[in-house]
Amino acid sequence: MNLDVASNIARQSLIASQFQIALSSRNVAAADDPTRSRAAATLATTIDGGVRIGGVRRAEDTAVYTRMIDATSVTAERDAVLQHLNVLSELVGDPENNTSIGAMIGEMNSALVDYANAPDDPLFGRTVIERARDVADKLNRTSSELLLLRDTADSRIAGGVDSVNQLLLSLDEINKNIVKGTISGRDVTMDLDRRDGIVAQISEYIGVKTLSRSNNDIALFTDSGVTMYDNGVREVSFARTTVFTATTAAGEVFVDGLPITGASAPMPAKAGSIVGSASVRDYIIPTYQLQMDEIAREITDIFTDGVGSLFLNGGGPDYAGTISVSATVDPTQGGTVENLRDGTGNLSGFAGYSDRLLSLSDALAGTSAFDPNTELNATSSLLDFSAETAGWIENLRKSTNDDVNAEAAILRQSSDTLSRATGVNLDDEYAQQLMIERSFSASSKIISIVDEMFDTLLRIN
């Protein structure tokens, strides 16, 4: 041991302190970025008993991180569904305002009963025709609105797929950097943070699972197990549907050549906003559309009777989009409301003939048969069936909203836990900086003491 060693150790300590204060300042700068984690230097002992920086370690908690990623995708999926359902529920409206198709058919039924009880008054007949026009308009508008919503969902899928592809390219770049850096012993903690951030972003679109490998390399799979990234990007592809009609079967999302959405997918993805939009596009809207079509078909059938037919439609499957008030009963199209009253029954042409109107109103309240794929009671009255469509949407919205609230709570909790585990505490950082400062001044002091000792030594000589 000699003074050179003492000076050398003090010098090593100064360098270590500087490195530590630099890391601490990086931590302080990252305090408000939720994707960054706290970095700490590990100190190692040198051969002469001094210190050196052994490496940089970041605070991480893989279990919590995985839970956060899962919660992100599930929340994104439910949220995508909820956003569409909120738009759909606008079609239903508040029950108080009688804007749902069920309420409109109810109003038409009331007008029909009014007319049946005063069949000689054409004004009541006009009211029935106007209410029928409301019903037909509502079905037409709903039908075109649903096509528009399918289109919106489709474009969201397309947007999501584009983003995922972009993110996968960034992931590829950064992952290669990490592997190279790890092999060459460089500090890769910042890149690791960025990679975690990118994976979290991808998980908003598609639920993912990661597999860690040596040298900090990762492979990325969808939550159903289709490879998205493994030593290179696998393409996510999607063909946008340009025009939606009643019979359009929309395109599916492919990852690595395998469909991950739709009924034909062997390994369908479970979460993420793309999956949410796809289920709205392929299941929720088509089911609601089918309900509207069934209403349009049945209401046309009920009122069909020669010149007395109240509605016309263009046939299946697009009943709701093509339903209209028949010209023979509509005074504004040159018909007469008496045709509606009489149908083909009133042979004597009596003004007080109400048999048809009474039986029509009975038919609206009587049992009809509907397509079982509507998910509503397939044998119920048209009045009940059309009212239940509002319940179906609102029920879906309610349960999805509950899911979103629950999942968002889980997401918030896991983000919070992750932030607690890996984030930066400014107060703690500052306290550490004070300690580093002390150590730095002590080491500096040693250097000046050694210097003085050398001086003393040299003066004696």
Binding site: A31, D32, P34, R38, S89, D94, P95, E96, N98, S100, G102, I105, G106, E107, N109, S110, A111, V113, D114, N117, A118, D120, D121, S348, F350, A351, G352, S354, D355, L358, S361, L383, D384, A387, T389, A390, G391, W392, I393, E394, N395, R397, K398, S399, N401, R412, D416, S419, R420, A421, T422, G423, V424, N425, L426, D427, D428, Y430, A431, L434
Partner: protein
């Protein structure tokens, strides 16, 4: 390594999430306080939204039925008034017939009374209620009864001519024997008031009565028609007195006609009362249906209010609680942001 650690972001964000949630709640509760209904009815009720639509439809149907029941009740009371008047009319003729003294002078007078009574009957049978003829049966668009002078008179006189070879009121009418007259009244004359003669000469009413829906699944007959036997009898009785030239007949033949008219009109009066009774049943049914409709409308409205509504008191209490929480949350956020080592080191 610290045993417990919290990042500054986690510490600061915690109250922020709470503030957001509380503010949404405050907005919803104040809306509930203002409207006494759930802030988002569809979201709160879910599947029950469909039931609410059904209930509202039922309330609307009930209100429609109550309104059209009002119309039906008005029609029935117009009909009842007409029938009562016809009955009074027939009664006074019957009184006059019973007390009819012999002689041409009295016969002249009763003939005139019969004629004006017949006009009154026609007027009553053509009574209308807001544009629809109440005695038309289903044919509410046409006046159901043809005035005596506008056709039926010619038919009656033609029948008279065909039977007796002379016109009504001719100078030789006193040669008609009572037996011939009785036979004429029972056959040729009576035939004019049966179908199809009645339908072609007198009435354009439909024999089918108006049927109305008076409750959700109840129907009732809410009208009558001019083809009812009671009305035919009244008209036949009046025509006997007014249209057969009573004053020109021999006293014996006149007695035959007067007796036949007395029997017919007496029968008609009790038939009219029966008809009024039947319509009374319908009026009764409407009244009871209305009571039931009011009852079920109230129940349904209550059910809607119960399901869609909120308790304003509860909303107010919750609002107060939320406001306190929000204030505490704000205070906490401020305090946490002031809590920094930089203020002490």
């Amino acid at each position: 390594m610290q045993t417990s650690y919290i990042s500054t972001a986690a510490l600061r964000n915690q109250p922020r999430y709470e503030v957001q949630r509380l503010q949404v709640e405050v907005s919803d509760r104040s809306r509930e306080l203002a409207t006494s209904r759930h802030a988002d009815v569809g979201l709160t009720l879910g599947n029950d939204t469909g039931r609410m639509v059904v209930l509202r439809n039922e309330v609307q149907l009930i209100e429609t039925l109550m309104r059209s029941n009002g119309t039906a009740a008005a029609r029935l009371s117009v009909t009842q008034a007409a029938l009562s008047d016809m009955r009074d009319n027939a009664s006074s003729l019957l009184e006059a017939l019973v007390a009819l003294p012999p002689g041409v002078q009295a016969a002249n007078l009763i003939e005139l009374e019969g004629l004006s009574g017949l006009e009154r009957v026609a007027d009553r049978l053509n009574a209308s209620d807001g544009g629809s003829y109440v005695f038309g049966g289903l044919n509410t668009a046409d006046a159901p009864f043809t005035r005596y002078a506008d056709g039926p008179q010619a038919v009656v006189e033609a029948a008279f001519l065909a039977r007796f070879g002379m016109t009504v009121g001719s100078a030789t009418a006193n040669t008609i024997s009572p037996a011939d007259m009785a036979d004429f009244l029972a056959n040729d004359f009576s035939l004019l008031f049966d179908d199809p003669g009645w339908g072609t000469d007198w009435s354009s009413a439909s024999s089918n009565n108006l049927v109305s829906r008076i409750a959700v699944s109840q129907r009732a007959t809410t009208g009558t028609n001019a083809n009812e036997q009671a009305i035919r009898n009244v008209v036949e009785g009046f025509v006997m007195v007014a249209g057969l030239g009573l004053s020109a007949l021999s006293q014996d033949s006149r007695d035959v006609v007067v007796n036949a008219a007395r029997v017919l009109i007496g029968q008609a009066i009790s038939d009219l009362a029966m008809l009024q009774g039947e319509l009374g049943f319908s009026e009764n049914a409407i009244e009871r249906a209305d009571q039931r409709l009011i009852l079920s409308r109230n129940l349904l409205s209550e059910s809607i209010a119960d399901t869609e509504g909120t308790d304003p008191t509860e909303a107010k209490v919750q609002l107060d609680l939320l406001t306190t929480q929000l204030e505490m949350s704000f205070a906490l956020t401020g305090q946490l942001s002031r809590l920094s080592i930089l203020n002490y080191a």
